[in-house]
Symmetry: C2
Subunit: 283 residues, 2 copies
């Protein structure tokens, strides 16, 4: 049965939103809705316009026999800024202060809608920089990795401090924790990453960068390439960090037992003084 345009628009929107970065052939849609190619093309024009006007993402059209359409989510500067500022306010609440100068963030990082926003924001940085795999370390980086990986349309892998029997053979590395100067160890399942993968490392929190330098060693061990490092929050750190090139959404300082949360370097790095351009087109 032929589908009405309005029904097609609703269902196509859902179908594409659930599959970021996946190429969907036009003929898939013509069959799904028993509709002519010309109708589907008109539908896609409407989706493309609305996605652009609302800052949802790009609907890319790939011409040719092997072509189709691909949804690439992003976030606009204005929305990213709003989210970061909201996080600064929420995480600055006094009673979040923990002994040792830490900030309680588990409740915030246990909210799927917030995690989705974090993922969408982090993924926007890699619009033109293909990623094959997102890597994180257990435990609190996991939900962030999952969300970024969804928006990039790729899998994620979890390094662990204590290798589990359910991981099979693993590759392990030693690294020095920058803050405690202790030697630590992390492992990753041997079959989890193909050689020559382009890897994005994400984590919830970075202080001296020790844990992330451990993951960087893992990237090397897997003969792969580190494309970027994105953390939700960086903590104020007086020493020299083991990681120089990274992106942070937030900067957290807890000197004098006062929590001070400010925007990290993300907004400047990504949007800087010019607008973000996507494959030559201005957003």
């Amino acid at each position: 049965m032929k589908t009405r345009r309005s029904d097609r628009l609703v269902d196509m929107t859902r179908y594409l939103l659930e599959r970021p970065h996946q190429l969907i052939s036009l003929s898939y849609f013509t069959k799904r809705y028993d509709s002519a190619k010309s109708s589907i093309s008109e539908d896609l024009t409407i989706l493309k316009r609305t996605f652009q006007n609302r800052g949802t993402g790009i609907l890319e059209t790939v011409p040719g026999a092997a072509g189709g359409t691909r949804f690439i989510p992003y976030i606009l500067r204005e929305n990213a800024e709003q989210f970061v500022n909201q996080m600064c306010t929420d995480l600055s609440e006094e009673d979040r202060y923990l002994p040792g100068g830490y900030v309680y963030m588990s409740d915030v990082l246990g909210q799927p809608r917030i995690l989705n926003e974090i993922g969408r924001i982090m993924a926007t940085q890699y619009l033109n920089d293909p990623i094959d795999v997102v890597m994180t370390v257990a435990t609190k980086g996991v939900p962030i990795a999952q969300s970024v990986a969804f928006y990039l349309g790729v899998p994620f892998v979890i390094a662990r401090h204590n290798a589990q029997i359910t991981e099979g053979s693993t590759v392990s590395v030693n690294y020095v924790s920058a803050s405690t100067e202790r030697i630590e160890r992390m492992a990753l399942s041997k079959r989890s990453i193909a050689p020559n993968s382009r890897i994005l490392i994400v984590d919830d929190y970075m202080k001296g960068g020790g844990t992330i330098s451990g993951m960087r060693s893992l990237v090397d061990e897997f003969d792969s390439q580190l494309v970027g490092v994105s953390v939700f929050a960086e903590g104020a750190y007086s020493g020299e960090r083991l990681i120089n090139r990274y992106t942070s959404l937030l900067h957290v300082d807890t000197a004098n037992k006062q929590i001070d949360v400010q925007p990290g370097n993300y907004l400047d790095q990504i949007f800087g003084d010019q607008n973000l351009t996507v494959k030559g087109k201005e957003k």
Copy 2:
């Protein structure tokens, strides 16, 4: 500027899909699209029809001044069955066998789209059984918890074997691992769950049920109520399980070093011999 119907349909679909279980007032949409209430109502009728026809979920209408609309995602039996069967095939690959009778599943549980399906399937069981919080234990249950929590529109919390400084004060419990008979310990941040919460426990894998019985003790410690236990896979187990009432998507047997993955008890439990009904309406 007034928005065209086609644009409204696309954007409303996105907006609602991103916010499962959240009540959105009609006036929010009339303002967002500068459109009359009657137009928005017509749009919602279209969305409702398409969501139902395509097995996406229910679009509930709440009448009255404090009313609005609420999207409740579910999965149809046919789609759930298809997914479970696909998992049985994928996880039965010979080279997944690990020493000790385990099955390598980390690659599958590192794919966001698969996790989304798992979440949607597990959430369908609790359509009429409100959940306040999803609980899991680090590490491999985390992505599942995140996904289920998204579809239920609630937060998730992560119990850990090694309490972290970033969790603040914690509540700990001891439990006996059913398979190793060792005593283990897990902890959960004290401020993570309000008393009298209705809790759903999820995990990736259950054998004797020891870990899950540990989480059940945590539920008690937080003066809360256990509503259900959902696991991605249950392993064949000859002894008596510490947990009787649970739902599994898959049943994994590795006797004689052969992997045999069959559907778990989910499909029968949820869909049984009658169709799933939602608030009196048949799906």
